[in-house]
C-alpha cells in the first residue's frame, strides 16, 4: 500500500487532476473552433488519457505483487487486477477498430453535429469520473458514507451522459438528416456512440452493483476489489470518450 496517500491529500490530488483535465478539454475545444490543428488535438487527447490512466485508473498498481501468500486477499486482488486490465486491453481493440473505420471512411471530415452539446456531455462524463475517483478514495479509507454519496453522484451524471447521447443527441442528429442508414457518416457516428453508450450502460449496472454491496457492508478499507474494479471500468469508459469526442466533434471539417 505504498501508493496510498492520506485521505485529504488523495482527495486533493483528485481535484488537481480534474482541473488539469478540465483545462485540457477547454483547450481542445478552443483549438478545434479556432485554428483546427489536428496534431494539437491528438497530443491533448493522449495527455488526458495518460492523466486518467495514471491518477484515476492507477495503472501503476499492476506492479504490486500483493505479497507472497497466494491465498491472501491482496494477492488475489493483484491477479484480478491483471485480469481486468487485460480485459480492458481487449475491449480497447473494439474501439480501436471503430476508430479505424472512422478514419478510413471519414478522413479529415466529421459529422455535422452540435459542438456545444458535445462539449456538454463530455463535461458531464468528465465530472462523473471525478466523483468516481472521490468515491473510490473514500472507500479505500474506509469511508462508506462518502463512497455511497459520491458513487450516487457518479451514477446520476453517468445516466445524464447516457441520456444526453441517446435521448438528446441522437434525435437531434436524426432531425438534421443524419440517420443510421443515411450514409457512411451516419453509420460511423451511431456505431461509435452506440458502442460507447453500451459500455456506459454496463458501467452504470456495475455502479449499482457495488453501491448495493457497499450498502450491505461488504467492502472495507482493506478489501474493496469490487469498488476498485467498478471505478477502473468507469474511468475506462471515460478514457474511450477522450478519443471519441475529438474524433466525432472536433477533428476535421464538418460535413
Amino acid at each position: 500500500m505504498s501508493h496510498l496517500l492520506d485521505k485529504s491529500s488523495a482527495f486533493r490530488q483528485g481535484v488537481v487532476i480534474f482541473v488539469y483535465l478540465a483545462v485540457l478539454t477547454a483547450l481542445e475545444y478552443f483549438v478545434a473552433v479556432t485554428f483546427k490543428a489536428i496534431s494539437i488535438l491528438v497530443v491533448v487527447a493522449i495527455l488526458k488519457a495518460a492523466l486518467v490512466m495514471y491518477y484515476y485508473m492507477h495503472i501503476y498498481k499492476l506492479n504490486e505483487e500483493g505479497g507472497s501468500d497466494a491465498h491472501s486477499y491482496a494477492y488475489k486482488t493483484g491477479t484480478n487486477r491483471l485480469g481486468l486490465w487485460l480485459f480492458l486491453l481487449s475491449d480497447s481493440f473494439v474501439f480501436a477498430g471503430l476508430m479505424t473505420a472512422r478514419i478510413n471512411l471519414l478522413g479529415l471530415t466529421r459529422p455535422h453535429l452540435n459542438q456545444t452539446l458535445g462539449l456538454a456531455v463530455t463535461a458531464v462524463l468528465l465530472i462523473s469520473s471525478f466523483f468516481m475517483n472521490r468515491g473510490e478514495t473514500a472507500m479505500a479509507h474506509g469511508d462508506k458514507k462518502g463512497f455511497m454519496t459520491n458513487t450516487l453522484v457518479t451514477f446520476l451524471l453517468g445516466l445524464g451522459f447516457l441520456l444526453g447521447v441517446v435521448a438528446v443527441e441522437w434525435p437531434l442528429a436524426a432531425e438534421e438528416g443524419l440517420t443510421a442508414s443515411s450514409n457512411a457518416v451516419g453509420a460511423v457516428f451511431y456505431m461509435m456512440t452506440g458502442m460507447h453508450a453500451f459500455h456506459v450502460f454496463t458501467g452504470l449496472i456495475f455502479l449499482i452493483v457495488v453501491w448495493n454491496n457497499a450498502r450491505k457492508n461488504i467492502y472495507s478499507s482493506e478489501q474493496n476489489w469490487g469498488v476498485e474494479a467498478a471505478a477502473v471500468y468507469w474511468h475506462f469508459v471515460d478514457l474511450v470518450w477522450i478519443f471519441f469526442y475529438p474524433a466525432l466533434y472536433l477533428i476535421g471539417t464538418a460535413l
Binding site: T79, S90, F93, V94, G97, A180, N183, A184, V185, N212
Partner: protein
C-alpha cells in the same frame, strides 16, 4: 451357445434397425406425400440415426449412449413433425424440406440426446433454454413487427431481425439457464461462494455438467473440438465427393434441402467447413492448453476458474448457432464473409456472424485466463526461462487471441448492422468502403492462423526432447521465436489483399513483413533438427505425429513465401494452390501436433494408454493420404483450378486428380474414425498406465495418473533447466516432500 461379441451384435442390430427405419421412412413419406419425392433423403437420415441407436443397443444394451441415441431419434422426429405442422399452418402447404422442420429436428435431436444420456445436465438444460430464448426473441420481434404493421413471417418462419435477436437471446439464455454464470450473480448480490466447488457429479457425468476443474474443462473442450472436427470433416467429404468429377453429380440445381439447391448447398458446406474447423481448432488447442498449462506451472487451477468454465460453455451455443446457419438459408461467401456478397447472402450468414462472434468471446476470455495464470500462478523457482516451452507458445497465442479477436467480431458486427439497419459501412453507394472490411477482418484472421499453429509448434518443441532424449536445442530462441511470430503476425494482414484494390504502395511493405515471418519459423526448424541430431530417438505414436507435423509444416512453410510475393500471388490468388498451402500449415501446425498431444497426455487424463497399433494405423493411413491430397491441390491450383467453386470445366483435365483427391479425403476420414474409436475405446479398455509412461522430466509425470483432483499434493520447486534430458544428475523439479509414485 458361445457368446457373440458385442461388435457383431452391434452391427447385426444396426443392420436390422437401419433397414426397418429405411422402409418405415419411405412408407411414411409415401403415405403423407403420395409420391416418393425426397423419400430417400428423409429415409437415409432417419435410418442412419436409428441404426446408430440400434448398434449401441446391440453392443451395450440400455447404456446411457443407447438411451441418448434413442432419445435423439425421438426428439428429432418430434421436432421434425412439429416444424412441419408449424410450416403447414404458416405457409398453407406441406413442404417436406421446410427449413423449420429441419431446424427443429436438429435442435430437438441434440437436446434429446443429452437428456437421454443423463437427464437434466448443464448441456441439456442449456439447450432447452437456448431453444426457448431463440423462440422468445424471435416471437418478441415478430410481435413488434405486427404492431408496426410489418410482415412478420418469412421463408424461415420468422424474419431476419427476429432470428438475429432470437439467436442472441438464445446464447444468453443458454448461459444463464445452465448455471455457468450463477456464481457471478451471487457475487453481484453480495453473496460469497467457496473458492473451490466440489464436483456436483462423479464419473463421466461431470463432463456434462458445470465443473470448475481445469482438467475437466480441458476434456470438455477437447471432446467438443473432436465433435466439430467430425462435422466439419463430414462437410468436406460432401463437397469433395461433388468435386470428384466435373459437372454436377448430386448437388444438382434441382435438388433442394434446407431451402437451398445443390450448388447453394455446396457453397454453404464449403463456407461452414472453414469456420467450423476454425472453431474446432480454437477449442481443441484451448482444450490442450487448459489441461496442460496449470499442470506444467504447478498451479492448482487456472487463475479464474469460473471464467474458464464460462469460456467453454459459451462455445456450445456458438456451435449450435453455426449449425443453425446451415439450415436457415445457408450462405455463399466462404468463411471470410466479404461484403458486398455477405450483405446480399441468404439469412444463414447472420447466424454465422452471431456464432463466430460468440465463439470469439470463448477465445478471448480463455486467452485472458491463460496469460493471468502464467503470470501469477507459477510455482516457486519457475523463472521466465525455466518455463516449459509449451507455456511460451500458449502465452504468444493468447496475446493474439486476446486482442485481435475483437476485430473479427467487430467486422462481422458491422456487416450484421448493415444488413439489419441499412448502415452504410461497406456500401460504396452510401460512401462506405468494402475494402475496409477486409482490413478489419484480416487484422484478426491473419494473426488467427498463428493462434492455430503456435500451440501446435509448442507441442512439437515440448515433446521432441522427450522422445529424442536430448536437451531442447536453443530453448531461449524457441521461446522468443514464438513471441516474434505472434508480434510480426500483427503486421502482415494485407498480404491477403494484394488483389483487392487496396492502395498499391501497401503491397511491398506487406510482402516484406510477411517474408519476415519465415525467420522465427526457421529458428524453430533449426532447433528441432538440432534437437533430433544424434538423439536416441524412439518413436511411439506421439513421436510419429510430432515428426509428421514437422515435415508437413515444412511443406506448408515452404509454400508460403511464394504466396507472399506479390508478383506470384497475383497468379496464385484464389486458386487451389492456396488451399493446398493452407491445409499443409494447419495440418502441420495443428492437426498433427493435436493428435500427438492427445496420444501423449491421454494417460495423464485417464490413467490408460491409447492402443499403439491403432495409433500407428491412424498415422500411416493419414500421412501419405494427406501428402497426396495437398500436393494434388497445389498441382491443379498452379494449373488454374479456382478454389470454392462447385464445378469445373472438363476440358481442364482435372478429373483424374480431383478423383484422387476425393479418395485421399476419404482415407483421411477413415484414419480419423480409427482415432476416434481408439480414443473412446481406450478410456475404458486401454492398457493401464499410471506412472511416467514417456519417462518425461516434466512435473505432471512425476505424480500418478490420472491426475489427482487438486493436482499436486505437494507443491514443487523448479531447481534446474526443463529439458536437460540425458545429462546425468540434472533435475528440473523437486517436490517439497517425496511425491507418491506408484511407478
Amino acid at each position: 451357445m458361445k457368446k457373440i461379441s458385442p461388435v457383431v451384435r452391434g452391427w447385426l442390430s444396426f443392420a436390422i434397425g437401419f433397414i426397418v427405419a429405411y422402409i418405415l421412412g419411405i412408407g411414411l413419406v409415401y403415405l403423407v406425400n403420395g409420391s416418393l419425392a425426397y423419400s430417400h433423403l428423409v429415409s437415409w437420415i432417419f435410418a442412419t440415426f436409428a441404426g446408430a441407436a440400434a448398434y449401441s443397443w446391440g453392443a451395450s444394451g440400455f447404456s446411457p449412449l443407447t438411451k441418448g441415441l434413442a432419445w435423439m431419434n425421438l426428439g428429432a422426429l418430434v421436432g421434425f413433425a412439429l416444424g412441419l405442422v408449424i410450416d403447414l399452418i404458416v405457409q398453407g402447404s406441406l413442404n417436406w424440406v421446410a427449413p423449420t422442420a429441419s431446424l427443429f429436428a436438429l435442435l430437438f435431436g441434440f437436446t434429446a440426446f443429452f437428456l437421454g444420456v443423463a437427464g437434466f445436465n448443464a448441456v441439456s438444460k442449456g439447450l432447452i433454454w437456448q431453444i426457448s430464448g431463440t423462440l422468445l426473441g424471435a416471437i418478441f420481434i415478430s410481435i413488434i413487427r405486427v404492431v408496426m404493421g410489418l410482415e412478420w413471417s418469412g421463408p424461415f418462419l420468422f424474419t431476419e431481425p427476429a432470428w438475429v435477436l432470437g439467436g442472441f437471446l438464445g446464447v444468453i439464455f443458454f448461459l444463464s439457464g445452465n448455471g455457468s454464470v450463477s456464481d457471478w450473480f451471487k457475487w453481484a448480490k453480495g453473496i460469497d461462494t467457496p473458492e473451490h466447488h466440489e464436483e456436483s457429479h462423479a464419473g463421466w457425468e461431470k463432463y456434462l455438467n458445470i465443473s470448475l476443474d481445469h482438467k475437466v474443462i480441458g476434456i470438455q473442450y477437447t471432446v467438443t473440438a473432436l465433435f466439430l472436427i467430425s462435422v466439419g470433416g463430414l462437410f468436406a467429404l460432401v463437397f469433395r465427393t461433388e468435386l470428384a468429377a466435373s459437372q454436377l453429380q448430386f448437388l444438382t440445381t434441382d435438388m433442394k434441402l434446407f431451402g437451398q439447391n445443390g450448388p447453394q448447398l455446396y457453397n454453404t458446406f464449403m463456407s461452414l467447413h472453414g469456420m467450423i474447423m476454425i472453431v474446432s481448432i480454437l477449442l481443441g488447442m484451448a482444450g490442450i492448453t487448459n489441461f496442460v498449462v496449470p499442470l506444467l506451472l504447478g498451479a492448482q487451477d487456472m487463475a479464474f476458474p469460473r471464467l474458464n468454465a464460462f469460456a467453454f460453455w459459451i462455445s456450445v451455443p456458438a456451435s449450435v448457432l453455426l449449425l443453425m446457419s446451415l439450415i436457415l438459408g445457408g450462405f455463399d461467401t466462404g468463411w471470410t464473409g466479404y461484403p458486398p456478397l455477405s450483405v446480399r447472402a441468404p439469412m444463414g450468414i447472420q447466424m454465422f456472424f452471431l456464432g463466430v462472434f460468440t465463439a470469439g468471446w470463448s477465445s478471448i476470455l480463455g486467452a485472458l485466463n491463460v496469460i493471468v495464470t502464467v503470470m501469477r500462478m507459477r510455482s516457486k523457482g519457475m523463472t521466465a526461462f525455466r518455463m516449459p516451452i509449451f507455456v511460451w507458445a500458449a502465452i504468444a497465442t493468447s496475446i493474439i487471441a486476446l486482442t485481435a479477436t475483437q476485430f473479427i467480431g467487430l467486422s462481422f458486427q458491422l456487416v450484421m448492422f448493415q444488413r439489419l439497419l441499412g448502415m452504410g459501412f461497406f456500401d460504396p453507394a452510401k460512401g462506405g468502403n468494402p475494402v475496409l472490411f477486409q482490413h478489419l477482418f484480416w487484422f484478426y484472421s491473419h494473426p488467427a492462423v498463428y493462434v492455430f499453429i503456435l500451440p501446435g509448434l509448442g507441442v512439437i518443441s515440448e515433446l521432441l526432447p522427450v522422445f529424442a532424449r536430448k536437451p531442447l536445442f536453443g530453448y531461449r530462441w524457441i521461446a522468443m521465436s514464438s513471441l516474434a511470430i505472434a508480434l510480426v503476425g500483427f503486421l502482415v494482414w494485407a498480404h491477403h489483399m494484394f488483389t483487392s484494390g487496396m492502395n498499391e504502395y501497401l503491397r511491398v511493405p506487406f510482402m516484406y513483413s510477411t517474408l519476415l515471418v519465415a525467420i522465427p519459423t526457421g529458428v524453430k526448424f533449426f532447433s528441432w533438427v538440432a534437437t533430433l541430431w544424434k538423439g536416441k530417438i524412439w518413436a511411439p505414436t506421439p513421436m510419429l505425429f510430432v515428426l509428421g507435423g514437422i515435415v508437413v509444416f515444412l511443406l506448408g512453410g515452404l509454400t508460403g513465401p511464394p504466396n507472399a510475393t506479390v508478383s506470384i500471388d497475383l497468379h496464385l490468388h484464389d486458386t487451389y494452390f492456396i488451399v493446398g498451402h493452407f491445409h499443409d500449415t494447419i495440418f502441420g501446425g495443428f492437426v498433427f501436433p493435436f493428435f500427438a498431444a492427445l496420444y501423449y497426455w491421454f494417460p495423464k487424463a485417464t490413467g490408460r494408454r491409447m492402443n499403439e497399433t491403432l495409433g500407428k494405423i491412424h498415422f500411416w493411413l493419414m500421412t501419405p493420404s494427406f501428402f497426396i491430397l495437398t500436393f494434388g491441390m497445389m498441382r491443379i491450383g498452379l494449373l488454374g483450378m479456382r478454389r470454392r467453386i462447385v464445378d469445373y470445366d472438363p476440358a481442364l483435365n482435372f478429373d483424374a486428380t480431383h478423383l484422387l483427391l476425393t479418395v485421399m479425403g476419404y482415407l483421411i476420414a477413415i484414419s480419423v474414425l480409427v482415432f476416434i474409436y481408439n480414443f473412446f475405446n481406450s478410456i475404458k479398455n486401454g492398457e493401464k498406465a499410471e506412472g511416467n509412461v514417456w519417462n518425461s522430466r516434466s512435473p505432471e509425470w512425476q505424480v500418478p495418473s490420472p491426475m489427482p483432483t487438486h493436482n499436486y499434493d505437494q507443491p514443487f520447486e523448479v531447481v534446474g533447466e526443463p529439458y536437460d534430458y540425458g545429462l546425468p544428475g540434472s533435475k528440473y523439479v523437486e517436490f517439497s516432500a517425496p511425491a507418491k509414485s506408484r511407478h
